[in-house]
């Protein structure tokens, strides 16, 4: 073996010796979430060290369902996330299309307002949004309250503007010469071409809605209208509550997203990385 390849081998070993413990530490909370979700409560609160799953998941789930209507809350979360994702992708890609492909009065102002306010903290709009939705519109504890206000998110507009402006103009001009209407060009030429970007955007928006906590906590606090994270959050800190049940709920919120992440990793990463290429 040459010294060059020997040093390569040494570096490869050092790399794995460093990265493996770090990866184990990083996976540990997720692993423990699964382990806790399968342990009875008296097992979780016992002095021994337990690192392997047991078989108590179903009982824990039943305890969770007794503490709060978690299945109902999951139903709300799924419906809200699906509707929100669809609407947000539609609205923001329409807006992104307009900003990318047309010249119009006020375009500069719209872009300036979006870019100029994008780094403002969300907390700034929380109180007026709450007053508006709960008091002025009387929409607290409704689906509309969960779905519509978060649609303001401008990430998709910038993302889709970028996607559409990279497409060659000839493509759309050819259709225009044929007399195809603009909305048909958008729907049947531009959107299909933007499929990978739409997938990345949809995944990021779905995840954001699925995990959203603060807004649903404020606006939908009635038991029958809570999303799953809010319902689970109400149990944390109660004295008489099944922690195995809470962990079963945490697993039900997390594992589907992990599966989606593994299956659609490329789109996921594209969606997150796109945040940096504004």
């Amino acid at each position: 073996m040459t010294s060059r390849s020997q040093s390569r081998l040494g570096r490869a070993i050092a790399l794995h010796l460093f990265l493996t413990p770090l990866a184990v530490i990083w996976l540990f909370p997720l692993w423990m979430m699964v382990v806790f979700s399968t342990m009875p409560d008296n097992g979780i609160f016992s002095p021994g060290i337990e690192l392997l799953p047991h078989d108590n998941f179903v009982d824990n789930f039943n305890n969770l369902q007794r503490d709060t209507n978690f299945v109902g809350a999951i139903g709300i979360s799924v419906s809200v996330a699906v509707t929100y994702t669809f609407l947000s992708v539609l609205l923001t890609s329409m807006a992104g299309w307009a900003l990318a492909r047309y010249q119009f009065v006020g375009k500069g102002a719209v872009v300036a307002i979006i870019l100029g306010t994008i780094t403002l903290p969300y907390s700034v709009v929380l109180i007026p949004q709450f007053i508006m939705v709960a008091r002025d519109f009387q929409l607290a504890n409704t689906w509309i309250a969960l779905i519509v206000p978060p649609l303001f998110n401008s990430l998709g507009v910038l993302f889709m503007r970028q996607a559409f402006s990279m497409m060659p103009a000839d493509l759309f001009d050819a259709a225009r010469v044929e007399g195809v209407k603009e909305w048909r060009i958008f729907l049947f030429v531009a959107l299909p071409l933007a499929r990978p970007m739409l997938a990345a955007l949809a995944i990021i928006l779905f995840l954001a809605s699925w995990n959203n906590y603060l807004w649903p906590l404020l606006i939908n606090s009635q038991p029958g209208s809570m999303t799953a994270p809010v319902a689970l959050g109400t149990l944390i800190g109660l004295t008489k509550v099944s922690w195995g049940g809470i962990m079963a709920g945490a697993v039900m919120l997390t594992v589907p997203m992990l599966v989606v992440f593994v299956l659609l990793q490329r789109h996921f990463i594209a969606g997150i990385a796109a945040g940096a290429v504004k």
Partner: protein, 286 residues
């Protein structure tokens, strides 16, 4: 190019309506509310009512201090860790890359409530796995929830676990856009890997590092769920109370919208200052 106002606004209007109602107007409205006394009906204009109270409020300074303390410790640690993760994940020597990527990126999909619950259990004083592991190597248990310093450390550990991989994804995308021949040339010139990292990678990555830092600062500045759920409403005794939590308590527990808006605008002021620093750091040298 000719103007296409009608067509453009047909595509733009639906989004613009929502954006104006639920983002642009609330930004203005929140500013106006901060100058009103909101616990009288009707609200009355009282320019110094909330801001005057804010300036003299120990609870505000406590929350501000805690938030800044978390910022200055947690963000640099996390960004450094994210850079290390990204650089090592990008190494051509790495085997089973997918597994390592999964380990570091998986927390990105985990919701705040789910992971807060797990961290609460893991760091439990008597039955938490962390203290059990500390004991098993001869170290004493740490009371993570009743003392301020460990409680703050716990919040920082939790946030770092949740967000380091997210930043690593962004940084990795940045690394992969650095052309290989830069490194090949450096290797031919016998520049060591460590020197390559400090003299090639870091400078080329700087705009993205600054971007990640700004994103993280603005995120951490609004920190709410972790002190709300993990250390139980900012405990012990307000020791982990953040600006986000103060805003929540004032706005939605005491229904004091005016004061909460003043707190919110303090965060906005910090965010604007930080964004300006970012623009200055990443300006084009002319």
């Amino acid at each position: 190019m000719r103007h296409q106002n009608a067509t453009a606004y047909r595509f733009l209007t639906p989004y613009l309506l929502i954006f104006s109602i639920f983002w642009v107007w609330p930004i203005i409205s929140s500013f106006l509310i901060s100058f009103q006394a909101t616990r009288t009906v009707p609200w009355r204009f009282a320019p110094t009512f909330n801001w005057g109270r804010l300036i003299g409020d120990p609870a505000f300074y406590n929350a501000l201090k805690n938030t800044l303390l978390i910022l200055v410790i947690q963000v640099p640690v996390m960004i450094s860790l994210a850079i290390v993760m990204a650089v090592l994940l990008n190494s051509p020597l790495l085997k089973v890359r997918g597994l390592y990527r999964f380990a570091f990126f998986a927390p990105v999909v985990v919701g705040e409530v789910a992971y807060s619950a797990v961290f609460r259990l893991m760091f439990n004083l008597n039955f938490g796995i962390i203290n059990k592991l500390l004991n098993s190597v001869g170290l004493p248990s740490v009371d993570w929830f009743s003392n301020v310093t460990p409680a703050m450390a716990l919040i920082m550990i939790a946030v770092t676990w949740r967000w380091a991989g997210y930043n690593a994804i962004i940084l990795l995308a940045g690394l992969q856009s650095i052309p290989d021949d830069v490194y090949e040339a450096a290797t031919l010139d016998r520049v060591s890997k460590v020197k390559q990292f400090f003299y090639i990678t870091l400078p080329l990555l700087k705009p993205i590092i600054v971007f990640c830092a700004v994103l993280s600062i603005i995120g951490t500045m609004q920190l709410f769920t972790e002190p709300f759920l993990i250390t139980e409403r900012g405990g012990p005794g307000g020791g982990t109370e953040t600006l986000g939590l103060l805003l929540y308590r004032q706005g939605f527990r005491s229904l004091n919208f005016g004061y909460a808006s003043a707190v919110a605008y303090t965060m906005a002021g910090l965010a604007i200052a930080i964004t300006l620093v970012q623009l200055w750091l990443t300006r084009d040298p002319k």
